[in-house]
Amino acid sequence: MSDPIIVTEHLSHTYAAKQETSLRRPALVDVSLEIARGSCAAIIGVTGSGKSTLVQHFNGLLLPTSGRVIVNGLEVGAHGADLARLRRYVGMLFQFPETQLFERTVFADVAFGPRRMRLDRRELRLRVLQALELVGLPPKQYALRSPFELSGGQRRRVALAGVLAMKPEILILDEPGVGLDAEGRAEFYTHIQALHQQGRTVILVSHDMAEVAALADQLFVLHQGHLVMQGTPREIFAQPATLNRHGLAPPPLSELLSLLRQRGLPVPLEVATIDEAFRWLTHITY
């Protein structure tokens, strides 16, 4: 990979045992990976596999127990590293971000982060309006409404706008689709894709394979803190047995195509979408 924006080298992390409940098993073990600039990467794995621990290293919320994390040339946790700057560079949207909204208006909520960046008022206002526009909430209609009057999907987009207004180069999204219904999810994905197309690096944390298949171009599979698979969605989803061993299932369509292969139909690995499968299957039947 020519131009990685994030590199980890032999990264390990063990949580300090503050409470009896935390097991002393390391959360990450010797993880080395590279995420390409401008890509949409997904970190996948079952609960407890270390996904969230990994991405929290990307903006310095956690520091390596051993190994190195380098984000855009800056080593996270090195002596004197500017973590505040790093966190503006790497925006993070946590799970269920809509529960973190608290201001009286949508505008105030989105402005909360950038206000702390000492921007002048015009710049601040511009950024908030642009961010709202970007997530499909036209400011004329939404800026002065209370976030609590909006639907769950809209509130999640307000939270996303709050992160975008800080203009991060890297955007980390932790389980962005969980809890949204089909419509809200599809809508949210459109906005993520738009951001990605503008050249920003997007990192998804997910256990929803359909979500990953729809958005990501690079997958990293974690299992018990180890990086166990990496590749494009097509490469990874064509190995259902290995995925299963790590507690994951391929998206339903990949599963169907694998079953067809097992039953003797020579479905090529390039076939991965409904359209491709439809074309291939109608082609061989006639």
């Binding site: 079952v46 639907s151 219904d181 999810r185 256990h207 299932a249 139909l265 439809f278």
Partner: protein, 285 residues
């Protein structure tokens, strides 16, 4: 509560949340349930589908008197949920599990948690021991009985919540989005467990979900929208109309979509083939 009556019966039930609540949930002024009628027989496995806000959970919460109808009647094994003296018995008849098992796990040791509701009801100790044993075996947690619930995985905690409900020997279990926080394999385990309970104990299951793939194995599928039941039939019958399901804001599983398109293009696939396995069998016999 004799044979011949349904286990769960809704008679033209309407319900609207109090105003303060509605604002938080951002719903419109329409009621959460609107003149809804429904009968579920003992031993049925019913999947209840609908998008967020369609009224599924409101319906589920009427089944064990967590919510009471504003108009109409809900009868559980013939008992009207409005009648206060029936409510304890109704809640023993219909057990519920929710999206977040942690909200109903209270003890610090697995077996104590299962025993809790029995202890509160003052059952004799030997009986409690026996029921806890059976319930833990049924959900496959017998080997973890001395563990702390904190140490269990999400799927195991959901199974623990089911054991707690099972120990009360209910006739019906309602799973309200009980799988939606779980990873795909744990999710499948819970669905398999619910089917096992139906098949072996004749329990009635009402499985509330927004995932079509979880409904394909049910005996009967209900689809809700705006507080009303829009579709009611076998999985094959309901999933024959994908366009309508999409209009009801449900995500269509890709294998079903592919099968429908192939069928339309003249490739014979039985409408009863609803799982990937079944579809693969039809395409490559």
């Amino acid at each position: 509560m004799k044979n011949g009556t349904s286990l769960i019966e809704f008679r033209r039930v309407s319900y609207a949340y109090p105003r303060a609540y509605r604002q938080r949930e951002n719903s419109q002024d329409q009621p959460a349930l609107s003149e809804l009628s429904l009968q579920i027989q003992a031993g049925e496995y019913v999947a209840l589908l609908g998008h967020n806000g369609s009224g599924k959970s409101t319906l589920a919460r009427h089944c064990n008197a967590l919510l009471l109808p504003e108009q109409g009647q809900v009868l559980i094994a013939g008992m009207d949920t409005q009648v206060a003296v029936y409510q304890r018995h109704i809640r023993d008849t219909v057990g519920m599990i929710f999206q977040q098992p942690d909200n109903q796990i209270i003890a610090t040791i697995v077996e104590d948690d299962v025993a809790w509701a029995l202890t509160v009801r003052g059952l004799p100790a030997p009986l409690i021991v026996e029921r806890v044993d059976t319930a833990l075996k049924d959900v496959g947690l017998a080997h973890l009985r001395k563990q702390s619930p904190q140490r269990l995985s999400g799927g195991q905690r959901q199974r623990l919540a089911i054991a707690g409900v099972l120990a009360l020997r209910p006739r019906c279990i309602i799973a309200d989005e009980a799988t939606s926080q779980l990873d795909p394999l744990s999710r499948q385990e819970i669905v398999t467990l619910l089917h096992h309970l139906r098949d072996n104990y004749g329990l009635t299951i009402l499985h509330v979900t927004h995932l079509l793939e979880e409904a394909v194995q049910a005996d009967r599928v209900l689809v809700m929208k705006e507080g009303q039941i829009m579709m009611d039939g076998s999985p094959a019958a309901v999933f024959a109309d994908l366009a309508y399901l999409r209009a009801l804001k449900l995500a269509i599983p890709e294998p079903l979509e592919l099968a429908a398109r192939l069928r339309a293009a003249g490739i014979p696939i039985s409408p009863a083939a609803l799982t990937s396995e079944a579809i693969a069998q039809e395409l490559a016999p």
